[in-house]
Amino acid sequence: MSRKRILIVDDDPDVRLGLHVRLKANDYETHFAADGLTAICEARKCQPDLIILDLGLPGGDGYSVMERLQKNPEWACIPIIVLSARDAKTDRERAGKAGARYYMQKPAKNEVLLGAIHRLLGDEVPSNYEH
């Protein structure tokens, strides 16, 4: 059985590495993009099962990435988790409207993030992650 693919979009290399280690340990395959434009290219190339998306990005912010993904029916169904340092109510609402399935503020607790990923991918949720 092939592992599920997660595309990590964040301009901070430390965040990308940290998420990679965490997700790999949970048996996911990771792909990366550091800006909005690359995110779209990578989504096309690697056909991810899920995207973890930062909002403040160079080359088109998180919202524009979601907008472009939503326009293509092939990508519109890829679940997106927004992981951002912003916590304004407006961002939460805007991200929800743009198609994000979860909104999490950095630093998100590992069990919360993994719980959301498991839920969205229909994977079995390890009991200690259920909240």
Binding site: D12, V15, V21, R22, D87, R92, R94, Y102, Y103, Q105
Partner: protein
């Protein structure tokens, strides 16, 4: 210079004095344009449409006397400099007027042409400078708040990376840790949490400064809030050997407040109390309905710490205030109590320190209770042809896979609220405020003065509204509509109105509690 036009409103009831002023002003090289009114009422009328450069104001007018005249004028024309005219022996009044914002005063009878003109010119100039200074001050505050908001966002990124990698190490994803390493990593994690809450405080403060601190008022369960807050601070109390207790009556009415903000205030006050209480000390939390003031709940957090001197009791709620020389340990940012005060005030309560106990200090705050009797009174007092029962209608919304974002949950609840709002008859129905619930469902309630048939009609209309909106939804949400009939007791019509509203409100309250407590699965 001679072309400059200066508009002056002269408010003076004595025709002789008024004539003299006009003559003086006409002598000036500047082009004074005088509008003259005899009464305050006329002046107010004029100021409603015009904005003169200055007001020359006699304080004793037929329709207003003394400082009241000045206050009314300043209210009618904020930012317009006022020069007051007083009697010869009225220096005290003149000084009072200056304190209340008059730019200058002139004693009638000693006024000469050049003095009058000089006074007006100075007044206008001073007012302009004041306005400029105020504008600069506001700009600086805005700039500082923007900076703080930027800083706290920027601090989050490295904090996030530290959290990620510390948890990677302590979870053994980069090799097993020995017990000592694990203990040290726990210390890092604990400090991270502290740093994170400080950053949250910084953000809250910038929002409070800009008046943007958000509170989402709803019918909030106090016992739930207390339980959550106690769980949050339990670890800190245990680590320090402080005994922590909470005493909240189970029948306490719901507060009309923001549940997450209530937790924040409680956690902050409890955290402070634990911090300033030595080992083996006690921290206790109590909540009760204020006797005789049934619309308020009071909370008290008492500790057996060193207490607070009376002279500091007011000041500790100020922004950035720290009582100097308090225990040598960490002090925090000094923002917590300021944020608490802002949050409590925003929810309609107040906060203070009660210093009456001998040892330690007690922090008290109040929150309002939403008065159901008042809310229901209008539909209960409806008499002609109205039904002898209330229908309590519930719309429950939930998402089969769980809500993905809070945003969609909120949007859907708003939508349901809106749908209910459209089915309401102004005099017979009332949509109740949002109710905090523990589970995953979102509830909206409507109380209607209706019999069974009437209730059926309302339910049909609500369902229709919700179905119409369904097509546009991004997220799949399920909903159900439910009704409970609450008949009037025999002879209820003869009861005093207040008693009827009170009794019915009690029943409605119980039904609400019942309804929101039972998990959905059991009902279907």
């Amino acid at each position: 210079m001679g072309h400059e036009k200066i508009q002056v409103l002269l408010v003076e009831d004595n025709p002789g004095d008024a004539r003299l002023m006009k003559v003086f002003l006409a002598e000036s090289s500047a082009n004074f344009e005088v509008t003259h009114t005899f009464r305050l009422s006329e002046a107010k009328e004029y100021l409603a449409h015009e904005r003169p450069d200055a007001v020359l104001l006699d304080l004793g007018l037929p329709d207003s006397q003394g400082l009241a005249t000045l206050r009314a004028t300043r209210k009618a024309a904020p930012g317009v400099p006022a020069v007051v005219l007083t009697g010869l022996n009225d220096e005290e009044l003149a000084v009072q007027a200056l304190k209340e914002g008059a730019q200058d005063y002139l004693c009638k009878g000693t006024i000469a042409s050049n003095l009058l003109i000089q006074s007006l010119r100075y007044a206008i100039e001073r007012q302009r400078l004041q306005a400029e200074t105020e504008q600069v001050r506001l700009q600086q505050i805005a700039l500082k708040d923007e900076f703080l908001s930027h800083v706290s966002h920027e601090l989050r990124s490295p904090l996030n990376a530290i959290y990620q990698f510390v948890s990677i190490l302590s979870d053994g994803l980069a090799g097993e840790c020995n017990p000592q390493q694990r203990e040290y990593l726990q210390i890092i994690t604990r400090n991270l949490a502290e740093l994170q809450s400080m950053i949250g405080e910084l953000l809250d403060v910038t929002r409070a400064g800009a008046g943007k601190l958000s509170v989402d008022l709803q019918l909030t369960s106090v016992s739930q809030g207390v339980e959550d807050a106690m769980n949050t601070v339990k670890g800190a109390a245990e680590a320090k050997g402080v005994c922590l207790t909470a005493d909240v009556p189970s029948n306490l009415p719901r507060a009309y407040a923001d549940p997450s903000r209530l937790r924040q205030v409680l956690v902050n006050l409890l955290g402070n109390a634990i911090k300033f209480t030595p080992a083996k000390g006690k921290v206790s939390l109590k909540a009760w309905a204020v006797p005789g003031e049934s619309e308020m709940l009071q909370f008290a957090i008492a500790d057996t710490g060193s207490g607070i001197s009376p002279e500091f009791c007011e000041r500790i709620f100020e922004r950035l205030y720290q009582v100097a020389g308090t225990n040598g340990g960490r002090q925090g940012l000094g923002l917590g109590l300021y944020i608490c005060r802002e949050l409590v005030a925003k929810q309609g309560g107040r906060i203070w320190v009660d210093n009456s106990s001998k040892d330690g200090s007690t922090f008290c705050f109040t929150l309002p209770v939403l008065s159901l009797p008042t809310l229901l009174a209008p539909i209960l007092s409806q008499e002609s042809g109205a039904s002898r029962s209330l229908a309590l209608i519930k719309v429950e919304l939930w998402s089969p896979g769980g809500w993905t974002t809070e945003g969609t949950r909120e949007t859907l609840a708003q939508e349901a609220r809106y749908a209910l709002g459209r089915c309401v008859l102004a005099e017979l129905d009332v949509v109740l405020p949002k109710v905090e619930v523990a589970g995953d469902s979102e509830f909206v309630f409507l109380a209607a003065r209706a019999d069974v048939k009437g209730a059926e009609v309302i339910v049909r209309r609500i369902k229709g509204q919700l179905q119409r909106n369904e097509a546009e939804r991004r997220e799949q949400a399920e909903w159900c509509v439910d009704v409970r009939m609450i008949p009037f007791a025999d002879g209820a019509e003869k009861w005093p109105k207040e008693e009827l509203s009170k009794k019915m409100a009690n029943i409605v309250q119980n039904e609400l509690e019942e309804w929101t407590r039972v998990p959905r699965g059991d009902k279907l």
